[in-house]
């Protein structure tokens, strides 16, 4: 059959592109950069495949993550997309809950949006350290169960968990509020020095060392105990 377009054989053609293609491509580019930043963090932090929760190490990892994410242009959808990517493990070969949560926290804290909602119900695995150092003026809503150290080092932000948390919820938090709609694990509020934790469900254990702040269970103040007694 004759090809009536033969004269244009060597003309450098471009494929048809609908606006959605451009959007998807831009999104993919951003996601590639975010994933690359995460893998870099994991590589730096987990050289011996065991990640230890030490305050200095956590802070160092967070600072490194923050430096990376400050160079990226992303939005809330990209953060949520990253959570799914980490969970599915397609492009990210391994999930280490600590660095993953710290990286997501750095993304949330650096995001342009003041209110961030992450729908995490469908994730098979849970993330630690979500809401780490959430600053004042930011609200982070986590839908679904989450891991340990949720809201650790909270710095004035408002953290809402629509589900249960693991151990050490609100550990070392300084200012701000944590609302947990279901249950928390052990050492809730450990080393916290300010702010409030509200738990609507059961608290498996309050930490022995609490420097300040308040913990409420089902609307009832349970920490500090002296105030509780007075009330």
């Amino acid at each position: 059959m004759i090809n009536p377009f033969e004269d244009f054989k060597k003309y450098p053609y471009r494929k048809k592109e609908i606006p959605l293609d451009r959007i998807v491509r831009a999104k993919e580019r951003v996601m590639d950069q975010i994933v690359e930043g995460y893998l870099k963090l994991v590589e730096e932090e987990v050289k011996d495949l065991v990640w230890l929760v030490e305050n200095s190490r956590v802070f160092k990892a967070y600072s490194s993550a923050l430096r990376t994410v400050q160079e990226l242009d992303y939005d809330v959808d990209d953060i949520e997309e990253l959570c799914f990517e980490i969970d599915k493990g397609r492009r990210i070969p391994y999930l280490i809950s600590g660095p993953a949560g710290i990286y997501v926290s750095a993304l949330c804290n650096n995001a342009k949006e003041e209110r961030i909602r992450l729908r995490l119900h469908e994730l098979k695995r849970t993330f630690h350290f979500l809401g780490y150092r959430l600053p004042e003026g930011k609200t982070l809503v986590l839908e679904g169960d989450v891991g340990d150290f949720i809201g650790a080092g909270l710095s004035g932000g408002k953290l809402v968990v629509k589900g249960s948390t693991g151990n050490w919820a609100g550990a070392g938090m300084m200012r701000g509020d944590v609302f947990i709609s279901e249950h928390t694990g052990q050492n809730t509020g450990g080393w916290m020095s300010g702010g409030e934790i509200h738990v609507d469900g059961r608290i498996r254990g309050v930490a022995k060392t609490i420097l300040g702040g308040r913990i409420y269970q089902q609307g009832k103040l349970i920490v500090p105990r002296d105030l509780t007694a007075r009330e």
């Binding site: 090809n3 377009f5 244009f8 471009r14 048809k16």
Partner: protein
């Protein structure tokens, strides 16, 4: 390969006719150069074996311009060309136009045809063609189209020929040219009034003296043409005589004419000149606007699209008929010849744009409301050429806005037809719809 000497020779002919025989103003520009359209296209028609319709007021050089060009490009004396001309009038007969029986031989029981000069010579000039009644126009259709002349049981076929026909503007004595005949004309030009001052210069010239006349040679030509001899053999003798006449003109008057071999060499060179991609894509864009119909699949003279069609803003909405397949052939040939004459290596949009109005003006049937809308416009060209020029500018503007997109669509279409799985490129022009139709069944 031609080294430019042919081009110089043809340009000299153009200059000689313009300065001495057909004095007129330039009325078209191609790049930096100005030309007189009637003279330029006559020259290209003669070299290209084309067919040209020349319109204009009586006495403004329609026939004479064609005669001069014919004489100089075919090495024929002017008197012979006059003798071969056919005039259009209601009483014209096949016997005068094509041939007649040899009455002497008929009396002896032999059926032998005496062919007219028009049928035999490569130059054919039909004066006032629109005075031929429509039924008689059909008589010359085959000869005009294929160089195929039939009378009784005999036939001659012209290997090389060109046609010039003149037409006056409509009056009581004129008829409409039938659509099949008009489509066979490659180009239409107007032989214009040269302007007051040049007209006076023409008026001061001796009307009976003409360097292209040669009674001695004219007699010799006629003697050969009247002989009862095989047509091909006769043409060989005519060509020999043409060469002798050409040598004589060069020696005596320093007028250089083009020989049969040179005409062939020129045509070979012209054929080699490629169309660049923009010229190619632009021509496709023009054809799309002149043949596409969203509602009925293609333009048809008896179907009229309605208001409210998405393509209302395109030329397809303003015309009644569909452009023929002769049109792209004509545009290619004439734009290649123009590029050759200018010494360009490829045909670009410039040459296509220059040629288009003259190849289109006679082929388009405009809708009445569009004609009424444009009738009062200030212009210098005859109405049909003016409309064609306006249309070409309009399509060019559209092409210019999306030339890369159109070329991309054509390139993607090539890849698709070659087996790649690509989506056709969408766009707001009939060309995209035409491309998609070509890809139907592949995707």
């Amino acid at each position: 390969m031609e080294d430019g000497s042919m081009r110089r020779k043809v340009r000299d002919i153009y200059g000689f006719i313009q300065d001495n025989l057909y004095l007129n103003r330039p009325d078209m520009r191609v790049g930096e150069e100005s030309f007189n359209s009637a003279l330029l296209f006559s020259l290209l028609t003669a070299l290209n074996r084309g067919k040209q319709l020349i319109i204009g007021e009586p006495g403004l050089g329609k026939t004479t311009s064609a005669e001069y060009v014919a004489a100089m490009t075919y090495r024929l004396p002017l008197g012979l060309i006059w003798a071969s001309e056919v005039s259009g009038h209601p009483e014209q007969t096949e016997e005068k136009i094509i041939g007649r029986p040899d009455l002497g031989r008929l009396n002896q029981g032999q059926e032998v045809v005496v062919w007219s000069y028009l049928a035999q010579l490569p130059i054919k000039i039909v004066d006032e063609i629109n005075r031929l009644p429509e039924t008689k126009q059909s008589m010359i259709l085959d000869g005009v189209d294929r160089g195929n002349w039939e009378y009784l049981n005999d036939v001659i076929i012209n290997e090389e020929y060109c046609l010039f026909a003149t037409a006056n503007y409509q009056d009581r004595g004129t008829n409409t040219l039938i659509a099949p005949l008009i489509d066979r004309f490659d180009v239409i030009v107007e032989s214009r009034h040269p302007g007051t001052n040049i007209a006076l210069v023409i008026g001061m010239k001796d009307r009976y003296e003409n360097v292209l006349r040669s009674p001695v040679y004219e007699r010799e030509f006629q003697e050969i043409l009247l002989e009862r001899q095989d047509y091909q053999e006769k043409m060989r003798r005519i060509e020999d005589l043409c060469n002798r006449f050409g040598d004589h003109m060069e020696k005596e008057f320093h007028v250089r004419m083009v020989s049969q071999g040179e005409r062939k060499e020129i045509r070979d060179c012209v054929r080699e000149i490629p169309l660049d991609l923009d010229a190619n894509a632009f021509l496709r864009t023009v054809i799309a606007e002149l043949s596409f119909c969203f509602k009925y699949g293609q333009k048809r003279s008896d179907e009229h699209c309605e208001e409210g069609c998405h393509y209302t803003g395109f030329v397809c909405h303003h015309i009644k008929n569909c452009i023929s397949n002769r049109f792209p052939m004509t545009v290619r040939t004439y734009s290649q010849s123009l590029a050759w004459l200018k010494g360009d290596e490829a045909v670009g949009i410039e040459q296509i744009k220059a040629v288009l109005p003259y190849t289109l003006a006679h082929r388009l049937q405009w809708k009445e409301d569009y004609l009424a809308q444009k009738q009062g416009d200030t212009r210098r060209d005859p109405f049909q050429i003016y409309l064609a020029k306006e249309m070409v500018n309009e399509i060019y503007r559209r092409y210019n806005e999306q030339s890369r997109h159109i070329k991309n669509a054509l390139a993607v279409a090539y890849q698709t037809l070659s087996g790649k799985d690509l989506e056709p490129i969408e766009g707001d022009h009939p060309i995209y719809a035409e491309i998609k139709r070509d890809l139907e069944g592949v995707r």
